[in-house]
């Protein structure tokens, strides 16, 4: 639903709808939701949020008209660097990587990282140190994620990354995770929406929101910094944050520092590594994620093969009602997006049955591919010449024996090439399961890329790993086929 709204926004934000005058094109993710940027519930073609009002404030100061450009949250850095918009504003955290690769504005809001737990656990889970071996949710590629990775090394906390900031709290409420670490804006909203959760008073870290511009765009950045300082002094920023119920005592202190000529404080997790150092540091995590991708793909393919064979047998040999029912199942599974199926399995069924993420991913991929495999097997079964089945009957084989000894093995040979094809496709489709918190190869790569602010090296490493997984498989399949076709 949110994706549809986001698409609608992109369409409506096209030049035909824009007002006259020079524009300030600003990028954000309407999926991020309130209070940052979200579709206006009363008019989904409009966006509302504090970042929307800050964009308005900046545009006014520059004598321009703001125009919203929808960009996925994790793509905002790359889009800023490419110059897809003038400035990115979407609750974007000040990080060392961003400062080194982009033109970054002064901070306009300071937040604390808060640990949210269930009320019943309030006494035992006070800090990250209390959560050894426990699953703690957060958003990927954020300051909170970096803090969790540190806590993983120090205390054995298990980080679980989400793609959105709503499901960490709903999953905490139903017990899938034991805590959530996110900034106070999200934490306050999470507690408000989910009764039974509380925020711990201990501050796990401090960060701030900034605007992102293309690296060469320092002239515009400096003008925007001026406008922000002005708005800090004349109370317009305070008015915006009061409207969104985000104003607190941390802000006047931040504004005093910034307008008093004090240097901008460095971000807390300041690990400005070279690309090479970062690649070395991320390599073990990428290899682990590649292992998860491989394990998940192999298990899902095994499930798809077994189920696919059962479905194909039912469609070829079963009575008419069974054939009709199986055909319907195949069409429904093939005809709906895998992403949707994963959401339904993991989040949709959560009130009925809480599947662990890996199991839900395995089931989603396995069931989806079973539908495709069953069609391959059905076609292959029907391609085995009827005459051989007649011959089998005259020799006294039962239908089951003829399937197992004669029809099945020949169908399997016909199916091998398309199956290999499907396995390679599955290997890549497995990247979709990151939406249900499984950190596989692509997700780990995008975290890596977000951290160093570039996709080039992480992308190449990721591609090399996918190829390393799929090429040997294709070779094995070709060798098997050659063995069958021996002269």
């Amino acid at each position: 639903m949110r994706v549809i709204v986001a698409l609608l926004l992109v369409v409506c934000a096209s030049p035909a709808f824009a007002q006259d005058g020079p524009e300030l094109r600003w990028g954000g993710d309407a999926e991020g939701g309130a209070p940052f940027v979200e579709a206006d519930p009363n008019d989904p073609a409009r966006v509302v949020g504090f970042d929307v009002e800050i964009a308005q404030l900046l545009a006014e100061g520059l004598g321009r008209v703001p125009r919203f450009i929808q960009v996925g949250f994790t793509s905002l850095d790359a889009a800023a660097a490419r110059g897809d918009f003038d400035i990115g504003l979407s609750g974007l955290e000040d990080t060392a990587a961003r400062r080194s690769r982009l033109a970054v504005t002064i901070p306009y809001y300071e937040f604390r990282e808060l640990l949210t737990v269930r009320e019943a656990d309030a006494a035992r889970f006070r800090t990250l140190g209390d959560l050894a071996g426990r699953r703690v949710a957060t958003l990927g590629a954020t300051l909170a994620y970096d803090l969790l990775v540190k806590a993983q090394a120090e205390h054995g906390v298990v980080p679980v990354t989400y793609e959105d900031d709503v499901h960490p709290y709903t999953d905490l409420a139903i017990g899938r995770v034991d805590a959530v670490l996110l900034d106070e804006v999200l934490a306050e909203r999470g507690v408000r929406r989910n009764p039974g959760l509380i925020n711990q008073p201990t501050v796990a870290g401090v960060g701030s929101y900034v605007g992102l511009l293309a690296p060469g765009n320092t002239a515009l950045r400096d003008r925007i910094d001026g406008i922000l300082r002005q708005a800090m002094q004349d109370g317009r920023l305070e008015a915006i944050f009061r409207r969104w119920e985000m104003w607190n005592d941390d802000q006047p202190r931040l504004y005093a520092r910034l307008t008093g000529g004090v240097a901008v404080p460095a971000p807390e997790v300041a690990a400005d590594l070279s690309t090479w150092e970062a690649a070395q540091r991320y390599l073990p995590a990428l290899l682990r994620a590649a292992g998860i991708t491989l394990l998940l793909s192999c298990l899902a393919m095994a499930l798809a093969i077994v189920l696919g064979m059962a479905i194909a047998s039912g469609r070829v040999y079963g009575p008419r009602p069974v054939q009709v029912a199986l055909t319907a199942v195949v069409e429904i599974v093939r005809g709906t997006p895998l992403l949707l199926q994963l959401f339904v399995l993991y989040f949709g069924l959560a009130t009925v049955v809480q599947l662990p993420a890996f199991l839900a991913a395995l089931l989603g991929l396995g069931l989806n591919y079973a539908a495709y495999e069953s069609e391959i097997y059905r076609g292959a079964l029907e391609a085995v010449p009827r005459g051989q089945l007649d011959a089998a009957r005259t020799l006294g084989f039962s239908t089951r024996q003829a399937l197992v000894l004669i029809r099945g093995p020949q169908a399997f040979r016909l199916a091998l090439a398309p199956m290999t094809n499907d396995f390679v496709a599955l290997l890549k489709d497995s990247s979709l399961v990151s939406v249900i918190t499984v950190v596989e190869l692509t997700k780990q790569t995008s975290i890596f890329a977000a951290n160093i602010g570039s996709w080039l090296v992480p992308g190449l490493m990721c591609a090399a790993m996918y190829l390393a997984l799929s090429l040997p498989l294709a070779r094995v399949a070709r060798r098997i086929e050659k063995g069958w076709r021996r002269a």
Partner: protein, 234 residues
């Protein structure tokens, strides 16, 4: 049952494909050890009759008995068809060898999985059968590597491996050159000496004369002539 007694009895048989009647009120019998050729122009239903005797076609009317097994149109069951199939072997015009198995594997598969013979014993007997049919040297070849004549001999060996009382053959000379036809006729004569009855559908008069003692002439869905080869083909 002594040789000479009735092995196959077809009584009042009617076969249809959709609305079309292929044969109707067809009756004939074949005795143990008989070599019978079923002849007639193309499209008269020779193949369909053989398939019905092999339990592969639904009967619209009448019955087929082989030995003590009886398949009737009035109450057909899979079990009855299986009973019939255990007594009848069939060699198809296009052989239909199992494409993923070697020649010898084609031959021992049914003895092992249907007759439950031990694998070693079944393989030994399969090799003997291939030797007898002159294709032992091709035992390890895959079907697509065999010539038409070789594939046919392997198919005969496969059908004989389950010890059928009646062997059906559909157009066995279609893929053979004249020299091979003579060889095949001789081989079939030898087989019938063991007591296996033969019913061969063919339109090859020369082969019928060389192989069969008796000719059934199928015309318009009925037997129009039934007698010794010398008489019918005169």
């Amino acid at each position: 049952m002594a040789p000479g007694m009735t092995l196959l009895a077809v009584e009042g048989l009617e076969l249809r494909r959709d609305a079309r009647t292929i044969v109707s009120d067809l009756s004939f019998s074949v005795s143990r050890g008989d070599r019978v050729a079923l002849m007639g122009a193309s499209g008269t239903g020779k193949t369909t009759v053989l398939r019905a005797i092999a339990g592969l076609e639904p009967l619209s009317a009448g019955s087929i008995s082989v030995d003590s097994a009886r398949l009737a149109a009035s109450s057909p069951t899979d079990a009855q068809a299986r009973e019939l199939q255990q007594r009848v072997g069939m060699v198809f015009q296009f052989h239909h060898l199992f494409a993923h198995m070697t020649a010898i594997h084609n031959v021992w598969l049914a003895p092992v999985h249907v007759l439950r013979q031990p694998r070693a014993e079944a393989e030994r007997r399969a090799r003997l059968l291939l030797e007898r049919l002159g294709v032992a040297h091709r035992a390890d070849a895959l079907p697509h590597e065999l010539s038409g004549g070789e594939a046919q001999r392997v198919a005969i060996a496969r059908a004989l491996a389950v010890n059928p009382a009646l062997l059906l053959m559909d157009e066995p000379t279609a893929s053979l050159d004249p020299a091979r036809r003579g060889e095949l006729a001789a081989t079939l004569c030898e087989l019938s000496a063991d007591g296996t009855a033969l019913l061969v559908a063919t339109h090859d008069a020369e082969f019928a004369r060389a192989c069969a003692q008796r000719i059934l002439l199928l015309d318009g869905g009925r037997i129009s002539r039934d007698g010794p080869a010398a008489e019918v083909l005169a």
